[in-house]
């Protein structure tokens, strides 16, 4: 019979091991990408055009494409998302309308990425072909924008609700209007949280593949406009891996993507620290 003290010690050892195991998994993934991709990395890799069917050269079009697609996505989802959050917290009383909006937002968040791909395909690429240019960076950006909208709504709402009720009351008490209060008190207080949400969404948008896989091709040229087709880091990585074209360029692409995610993650961490410091002061 094992004494309960021994069981206690063994159990605690297992719990520690589970945490260590997870850290090891993280390090393996990051480490592998880093080790395999570092050989390809250089400034010219990032800025050059691909040559010889991606066996040599750089990945600039993909980087540019990812950038454009993310900008389009956030340009749509940012205002709409923050606006919805402002509406839900400042203008709309809790009731059926706000419940439906929230349920829709939550449901949107649950939609699988490939279903977004099908949706984007049928709406933007086919139905709205004349307005979006079919399989274009614009279509891809809008699809991603739809996808990250719930995240922006949720984080912005939390950020706005974190501004203490007392501060709003003080503003009204001094005779300010609702709009003035929102503009001068609530929004500035919510900025760290909203910014965190935006950066989180950028990270998500830049890392998604399935929603845009049907609209973005392995295009070796620089896109001429939003209405033209383009290339993104994620889709390029998928094709390179699937076709087995160049392991070196593939891992270089993966590393580039990973570095972007790590930088965004670090920025988020800084903002979160700023946010909690504000909360403690307020």
């Amino acid at each position: 019979m094992i004494s309960k003290h021994t069981t206690d010690k063994l159990a605690k050892a297992w719990l520690w091991m589970s945490a260590i195991l997870i850290i090891l998994i993280l390090l393996s993934v990051l480490g592998y990408i880093f080790v395999m991709g570092i050989g390809a990395m250089s400034v010219s890799f990032l800025l050059d055009m691909p040559k010889n069917n991606w066996r040599e050269g750089g990945i600039f079009p993909a980087i540019l494409g990812s950038l454009i697609v993310v900008v389009v996505a956030i340009s749509f989802a940012g205002p709409v998302g923050v606006g919805t959050a402002v509406y839900l917290t400042e203008f709309q009383k809790e009731g059926n309308v706000s419940r439906i909006i929230r349920i829709s937002s939550d449901a949107l968040n649950a939609v699988p990425s490939i279903v977004f791909g099908l949706f984007g395909l049928s709406l933007f690429v086919f139905y709205l072909k004349d307005y979006t240019g079919g399989p274009s960076l614009l279509s891809a950006g809008l699809t991603l924008g739809f996808m990250v909208l719930p995240t922006i709504i949720r984080t912005s709402e939390v950020a706005m609700r974190s501004v203490p009720y007392a501060e709003r009351m003080e503003s009204y008490g001094l005779g300010a209007s609702k709009l003035q209060t929102i503009r001068n008190i609530v929004l500035p207080g919510a900025v760290p949280g909203i910014a965190t949400g935006l950066i989180l969404s950028i990270g998500r948008a830049v890392g998604e593949t399935a929603p845009i896989i049907f609209m973005v091709a392995l295009n070796p040229t620089i896109p001429e406009s939003l209405f033209g087709s383009g290339n993104t880091l994620t889709t390029q990585l998928y094709y390179l891996a699937m076709e087995g074209i160049s392991l070196k360029v593939a891992f270089g692409t993966a590393l580039t993507l990973m570095l972007i995610i790590l930088i965004l993650n670090a920025i988020t961490r800084v903002f979160k620290k700023r946010l909690s410091r504000n909360l403690r002061r307020g």
């Binding site: 605690k12 520690w16 509406y87 939550d106 990425s113 279903v115 086919f126």
Partner: protein, 290 residues
């Protein structure tokens, strides 16, 4: 035109913005159904759901092998991730010193932020070979490999929701247990984890939804063979990977095209149902300790 009341004007604009979510959700349902339902003019629902031959050229659209593969992959990933995830959640909630929390929590957030395609590439090179060597197979591209990579991907959800659930268990229960002479571990597995049950299950359900909907990591490592998988170490093809691979060949608005949309309806509906279940459980677990 000057707005008579700027506040009302802003409110109206913002209300339009807010309705956008409802609009988008409706559009998604509309377009997916519009793309998929025409299939059932030509093929019966039972043939689609239970048939096991998927040969577009011959007009055969039995999707059961995709459904089975998706279920196997999902359950496999849950089997791997749940024990590990709950253990880590217990670690963070109950026994981790502050310095350990400062390392593990950000690590989990990072794990959650890694793009699925990168997991796919990693799994393609590392996990697939691991499976191939361990089981002496011709190829490691199997259901098991897909389960393993999905398990890594759903760990963050399970850990963070379980941690929240465990931390919400009232201190009073813990104190009662210690006062009776229980050890830490006895208190954890006899009182705390059972009390956190609904919340933990909610996290697992949400994780299952994520696993069913995942495409990129799965498609690179599952082998993509359109047959019914015979075991965990055989290759397969899930609903999501089938859509991805065949959309390029399908003629727009053809029956094949419709069928692929129908393949998308299945995970869409499943994930929606699982999300609703999960929220209901989370609400129930929060009410328990009010």
């Amino acid at each position: 035109m000057k707005l008579f009341d700027p506040e009302k004007g802003v409110a109206t604009v913002l209300m339009v913005f807010s309705i956008t979510s409802i609009l988008i959700l409706s559009l998604i349902m509309l377009f997916i159904l519009d793309g998929g339902l025409p299939l059932f003019n030509k093929v019966g629902i039972t043939d689609f759901l239970f048939g096991d031959k998927w040969i577009p050229a011959k007009g055969l659209f039995g999707a059961s092998q995709f459904i089975i593969a998706a279920l196997l992959v999902t359950f496999g990933s849950v089997l791997i991730a749940v024990p590990l995830g709950i253990s880590c959640a217990i670690f963070l909630a109950e026994i981790a010193p502050l310095w350990a929390k400062r390392i593990v929590r950000p690590a989990i957030e990072l794990l959650a932020g890694i793009p699925s395609i990168i997991y796919g590439v990693f799994a393609l090179v590392v996990i697939v070979n691991l499976v191939k060597i361990s089981f002496s197979l011709a190829s490691g591209e199997t259901i098991l490999a897909a389960s393993m990579v999905l398990a890594i991907m759903i760990l963050p959800i399970i850990i963070s929701i379980s941690q929240d659930a465990i931390e919400s268990v009232p201190r009073l229960y813990k104190e009662g247990s210690y006062a009776l002479g229980a050890t830490d571990w006895q208190t954890i597995y006899r009182v705390i984890v059972p009390a956190a049950g609904p919340g933990i299950i909610a996290g697992v359900i949400l994780a299952m939804g994520r696993a069913i909907g995942e495409t990129m990591a799965v498609v690179l490592v599952i082998g993509n063979v359109e047959r019914m998988p015979t075991s965990l170490v055989s290759p397969g093809e899930t609903l999501t990977s089938a859509i991805l691979l065949e959309m390029g060949e399908a003629v727009v608005q053809s029956v094949h095209y419709n069928a692929l949309f129908c393949l998308g309806i299945v995970p869409f509906v499943l994930v929606l149902v699982l999300s609703v279940l999960s929220s209901k459980l989370i609400t129930k677990s929060k009410a328990r300790f009010a």
